[in-house]
């Protein structure tokens, strides 16, 4: 994993846990294989949208500007921002 990728993953973990905390959920360890939806993470589609908006606010990047791009795990999302 590149340094940039690791930084983005850390940012994703930070923002994910901020959203979870605001929902009253416990913080969790986020790894590249952490799935946002349909897994043990107490995250729903609106939380994921909130995360994407927050990441754009911090990075100034929007990997989805030209259309939807498939991802399901934290590592895949970090890669999208790394490439944006």
């Amino acid at each position: 994993m590149s340094e940039r990728h690791a930084e983005l993953l850390a940012l994703i973990a930070q923002e994910t846990n901020r959203i979870l905390t605001e929902k009253g959920e416990a913080a969790v360890a986020i790894t590249p294989d952490t799935a946002f939806l349909d897994g043990p993470l107490p995250f729903d589609s609106l939380d994921l949208a909130t995360l994407i908006v927050a990441l754009e606010g911090v990075t100034g990047k929007d990997p989805f500007r030209s259309g939807f791009r498939q991802f399901s795990k934290a590592g895949e999302l970090a890669a999208l921002y790394a490439d944006a």
Partner: protein
């Protein structure tokens, strides 16, 4: 701290009445239009710091994005959005130029969706809920000869209201449509005298509506007391649709 509400199309008609009432009720208001117009210019001069206006073309996402960013920079993340901007084009669909159909959809529907999207992106980053009000129309529910494309855009807004209410309800953001009947505003100026008479005859309360009939409901929906009302289309039409 005063709550911030964004109102599109606030330079005249119902939009101007909403802006004025919100200022009177103690809100900070951001509004946009193609031009400010004399009445809004006067309001800007007399109101001072609680009212912000910027030129924007609803339906042009770059233009509305710039407006939202400027409004947030001025007054912070909005508590509410009133999607009021809209246009009407009267004409039998078979002969209504496609460019006018596109313009109706772009302004009334796409523009409102873009505004809701842009404002929601702000609201999601802040806990505490919010309000989105789409100004729909009884035409979207009942139809009217010569207004097929317009009716489609307004019915589309009601669909947006219902779906978005489900989407963002978990964040205590409510989404509702307010559907006025036939209002005595500039937009109804295209009605012929015969059409106006027919509408009045069919309205149980015996007159066209006015902006003053609609504004109180918008103020109510923006308030805390309306926090459990969402996904609804609330009609104010003097009973013509009953």
């Amino acid at each position: 701290m005063k709550r911030h509400v964004i109102v599109t199309g606030g330079s005249r008609g119902l939009g101007l009445a909403i802006v004025t009432a919100l200022l009177d009720a103690g809100y900070r208001v951001s509004t946009c239009s193609r031009t400010p117009g004399d009445a809004l210019t006067a309001l800007l001069e007399q109101t001072g710091e609680d009212l912000f206006w910027q030129q924007a073309d609803i339906g042009d996402s770059d233009s509305t994005d710039r407006f939202i960013q400027a409004a947030v920079a001025r007054f912070g993340v909005p508590w509410g959005l009133v999607n009021n901007a809209g246009i009407a084009r009267d004409g039998i669909l078979a002969t209504l130029p496609l460019v006018e159909v596109d313009r109706l959809i772009q302004t009334n529907l796409t523009g409102s969706i873009q505004m809701a999207r842009g404002v929601l992106r702000q609201m999601l980053g802040r806990a505490g809920g919010g309000r989105i009000i789409n100004i729909s129309s009884i035409i979207g529910q009942r139809g009217y000869t010569g207004l097929a494309a317009y009716a489609a855009t307004k019915a589309g807004l009601d669909g947006l209201t219902r779906a978005l209410a489900r989407e963002v309800g978990r964040r205590q953001i409510t989404v509702n449509s307010v559907a006025p009947g036939y209002l005595d505003t500039e937009m109804s100026g295209t009605l012929s005298a015969g059409q106006r008479d027919q509408i009045v005859r069919r309205t149980p309360l015996g007159r066209l509506g006015t902006a003053a009939d609609v504004v109180p409901l918008i103020l109510f929906l923006l308030g805390d007391a309306a926090g459990f009302i969402t996904g609804q289309t609330l009609t104010i039409d003097g009973g013509i649709g009953c």
